[in-house]
Symmetry: C2
Subunit: 135 residues, 2 copies
DNA sequence: TTATTTTCATTGCATATGCAATTATTATGT
DNA sequence: ACATAATAATTGCATATGCAATGAAAATAA
């Protein structure tokens, strides 16, 4: 039954290749896409929190976010009570492009699920949720 | 409903991090794991075929496979009728370690799916199969 | 047959990645 | 209060990655 995890892997890599290609031109290749979309939706997470939420190595996340700060998509703020934490916020530039990222993700999702009925989509969602607790 | 693709991405990255950690010591970090397991199961694919099957950039796949050739896990053969193709085969070293890779994948899969009944696993598999045709 | 296009593999180059080690800050134990 | 351990961010370094361009062989068109 490990065709499941193989399929999952293939889907992920395909989507990543596509989002990189799509947003390369605006400096959002190398999976930057997912960082930006998450930070826009939940501003104020600290660096490690972002990394863990995405299941990405903290060093890699750190450098990617740094790059996004350099290119003016994100900005960092030292937490007021815990001096270790750097909280991540979107800039206006990020907020401006967010709708485009969002609709790309929506389109990708709809395309992926286009062979499923709404009920099947619901089922798939629930089953994957159950799985997420086990990683 | 795009929590589906987000979940899928997270699961993939988690598994990759784990397999890299697990097999780093035998020179199978950086996702080499998945190449090796596939080539062992279906020897004789050509380079681009492997890349496409895994949905990995061909250049990256080329270099990873080259590394695996250098470390004596794989070997290449020029196709006898089409001089462009390089077919990929596992060495004895690969065959020897394959069972370990296989059982790692099996364990990962079982752990991931441990909250699902067999019937639910079957459903998940079928739904994902339907999705794979749309990427 | 010859010219054109397509398909694979390969390389050059700039950049990204990730492990291991370090620093800074906070939490915990005594 | 002080020492010790834990957690976050950061850096150094070696290596991996991936786009764009090239080379080599085969398929297709003319």
């Amino acid at each position: 039954m490990f065709k499941i995890i193989r399929n999952i892997g293939k889907i992920t890599r395909s989507l990543q290749i596509k989002s990189n290609k799509q947003f390369q031109a605006v400096g959002l290749g190398n999976n930057s896409f997912i960082y930006l979309i998450r930070v826009c939706e939940k501003p104020g997470m600290f660096l490690g929190e972002v990394a863990d939420k995405l299941s990405i190595d903290r060093t890699t996340a750190f450098r990617t976010i740094k790059r996004l700060v350099d290119t003016n998509y994100l900005r960092l703020e030292v937490d007021s009570t815990d001096g270790r934490l750097r909280r991540v916020f979107p800039t206006d530039k990020a907020k401006k492009i967010y709708p485009e990222l969002h609709s790309f993700e929506k389109d990708s999702s709809e395309k992926l699920l286009s062979n499923l009925t709404l009920e099947e989509q619901q089922t798939l969602f629930q089953l994957l949720e159950k799985c997420s607790n086990n990683i």
